[in-house]
């Protein structure tokens, strides 16, 4: 693949942590306000896709650390199991369970099964997009 320009590479280094932080922010605010696992997963995928363009596929795979297909599987598993928790409590599948906790500085964190579901979706979206992007980029090489 073609080497990205110096500007793009420098920008990618700065944008990557910003985008990833923003994606976590979007993931956590999801269930009450605009956001959620899907859009957050896309933003995270954007960060890595930018990295592919600026650098190359092996480098991106290295900083991604895990195989995107495996990520897809684990995400799907987390999302499916978040629905099972309520069944273990004797309620229908996917009934929301809420365990809000108070954090000292950050305020209230709403731990809940919808959050786990969103995390699952996040991983599925990130895994899917990265599988597609990396496969296409490799095919081009």
């Amino acid at each position: 693949m073609m080497e990205g320009s110096l500007i793009l590479r420098t920008a990618a280094r700065f944008l990557m942590p910003l985008l990833l932080t923003f994606s976590i922010f979007m993931l956590l605010r999801g269930h009450d306000q605009p956001g959620g696992g899907f859009i957050a997963g896309l933003i995270a995928a954007m960060a890595f896709a930018l990295y592919v363009f600026a650098f190359d596929v092996p480098t991106t795979r290295r900083i991604l650390r895990v195989d995107p297909r495996g990520m897809l599987g684990w995400g799907l598993l987390i999302a499916a199991l978040s629905g099972v928790i309520s069944a273990m409590l004797g309620q229908p599948f996917f009934t929301s369970q809420w365990w809000p906790i108070q954090l000292p500085v950050l305020g209230e964190l709403k731990l809940s099964t919808p959050l786990f579901f969103d995390i699952g979706v996040y991983l599925v979206v990130l895994g899917t997009v990265m599988t597609i992007v990396l496969t296409l980029a490799e095919a081009e090489e």
Binding site: G70, W74, V84, S86, A87, T95
Partner: protein, 537 residues
């Protein structure tokens, strides 16, 4: 209650796990066998529960129907789920011995689980839009499975398959949209209730035609069946068997569901159209098969012709005919998947699916020959095998309904089916091995993986034939529920005798419960009440 969601959840989790273990084929193989085995166990449990306790209903996420999504298992749905479990388990074991290394590495097992999740979801959902979603899930998985391996013939078949199925999905989605516009609900029980209250049913029949065309394409009924014989002989044989057993039957199931529950306003029109479709489907399928000389193509055309018998049961719309239709589905899924599995073994032993290249199988593997004969003769309707009783019930129902021409077609098609099966028998099994064709021996372990599922399913065919009464009772139970939609409505939404529509009653109950949300509930109650006045006859 939880049992109704397990047949969807188990393959979903199994699929996710096999994706997570993408690198390890051994892990994926274990997950495939254990996952489909658990699926089979859960569906059998569900069927027993439905048989003894009646409908099993679950409101997902504790959002009550008709607003939330419900999963509903009646006897028909549970039977279909069990059949999906049987086929899935058999194919998973068979895959261990037949699937090439390249196929396994490119996601065969995750797609297999995803397909089963979609199929079971379609059988167990009580929501018409959700039905569409599950059909899409299984279609996406089937697209992937169909092109696994990426050979030229597969691409050619896949294009026809994908194109026709997308058209069908589009029609289905249009129909769902129109239904929602008319009735303001997607819950099938609520829809059935609201449709039964409408006096002017012209528009409903129009929408029913959209559903008919859409599901008929998916069921490969005449005239839009040609995607099936164009594509089913191209993928690896385990995939063919899975498709042959389950995919078209989702269409048939959906036809049974909507044309007994929702669209029964103008039976004289809709079900007559279905009956003509059934007759032509039988005839064109079997004639197409007669002209073929490739093992799997012959079987593919026979799927089409057999679909005709099933929807003939629906079209006659008498209790006996529905029993026959359901019995036929049970018999057919097992027999047809099994025949494809046999064709796969023949391919492994001789290296071809062409009847010209095959031969001598009776001499070299007599066990396989016997295992072919059971499902093949059952398909043709020889007593005492399962196909005989299936055909017998349906033909008897047709005579009782005095539709003599369809009786004639059904009997003629049975004869021609026998001709096709005998053709395969003489060419592939009896004829001496053609010169220059290498004979391949199977190692013991692989042999067990291939023959095990075939033997199991052949045994089931025998049992259904020799011990038909319990199966008949099961079909009768499902037909009783299908003929009386009020049972379904009551199971999902409660007793409609209180004079309120299901959605009104739900809000009424919520308001009476005196919860913190009582004020909101009353407000909604008022709004919904106003909405209902416009529709009240």
């Amino acid at each position: 209650m939880v049992s109704v969601a397990l047949p969807i959840l188990i393959p979903l989790v199994a699929g996710a796990l096999s994706l997570a273990f993408w690198q390890s084929q051994i892990a994926q193989r274990w997950i495939a066998v254990i996952g489909t085995g658990l699926l089979l166990a859960s569906t059998v449990y569900l069927l027993l529960q439905v048989q003894h306790e009646g409908f099993v209903v679950m409101h997902m996420g504790d959002w009550q129907g008709p607003f939330g999504i419900v999963l509903v298992a009646d006897v028909l749905g549970a039977i279909m789920a069990v059949l999906a479990g049987i086929t899935g388990f058999a194919v998973a074991i068979y895959s261990l011995g037949s699937m090439g290394d390249g196929h396994e590495r490119f996601g065969y097992y995750p797609l297999l689980h995803l397909l089963l999740a979609g199929v079971c979801g379609a059988f167990l959902t009580g929501d018409i839009f959700n039905l569409y979603v599950w059909v899409e899930v299984l279609l996406v998985a089937s697209f992937g499975l169909l092109i696994l391996g990426g050979e030229r013939a597969q691409m050619e078949g896949a294009i026809k398959y994908v194109a026709l199925n997308l058209v069908s999905s589009l029609l289905l989605l249009t129909g769902v949209g129109l239904v929602y516009g008319m009735a303001g609900t997607l819950n099938m029980a609520d829809l059935a209730y609201k449709f039964s209250q409408v006096e002017d049913t012209g528009m409903i029949t129009v929408v029913a035609m959209l559903f008919l065309v859409s599901f008929a394409i998916k069921a490969a009924a005449f005239p839009l069946f040609f995607w099936l014989p164009a594509s089913y002989h191209t993928p690896p044989v385990a995939v063919s068997a899975l498709f042959a057993g389950l995919l078209t039957k989702v269409g048939v199931y959906a036809l049974f569901r909507v044309f007994t529950l929702l669209f029964t306003q103008d039976v004289g029109l809709t079900h007559t159209i279905i009956l003509w479709g059934a007759g032509f489907t039988m005839l064109t399928g079997v004639l197409g098969a007669a002209a073929q000389f490739e093992f799997r193509r012959i079987l593919s055309f026979h799927i089409v012709s057999q679909i005709g018998y099933m929807i003939m049961g629906l079209a006659l719309y008498t209790p006996l005919a529905l029993i026959g239709g359901v019995f036929y589905i049970m018999h057919h899924i097992i027999v047809k998947a099994n025949l494809f599995l046999v064709s796969g073994v023949a391919y492994i032993l001789r290296g071809s699916y062409e009847l010209k290249q095959l031969g001598g199988l009776y001499k070299s593997s007599p066990v396989l020959a016997m295992l072919f004969l059971v499902p093949a003769m059952s398909l043709a309707g020889m007593p005492p095998l399962s196909g005989f009783f299936a055909k017998f019930i349906i033909v008897r129902a047709a005579i009782e309904a005095e539709s003599y021409w369809i009786v004639g077609v059904a009997l003629l098609v049975g004869l021609l089916t026998l001709f096709s099966m005998v053709k395969i028998w003489t060419e592939a099994f009896w004829k001496p091995t053609p010169e220059g064709v290498a004979i391949i021996e199977l190692p013991g372990m692989r042999r067990a993986m291939l023959y095990g599922p075939i033997m199991g399913m052949a045994l089931m065919t025998l049992v259904i034939g020799l011990y038909a009464q319990p199966i008949y009772d099961l079909a009768e139970q499902s037909a009783t529920q299908l003929m009386d939609p009020s049972l379904y409505i009551e199971a999902v939404l409660g007793d409609p005798a209180s004079g309120l529509s299901p959605s009104e009653r739900l809000i009424h109950d919520a308001a009476q419960a005196g919860e913190a949300a009582a004020g909101n509930g009353a407000a909604i109650n008022g709004a919904a009440g106003n909405g209902m006045e416009g529709e009240a006859p």
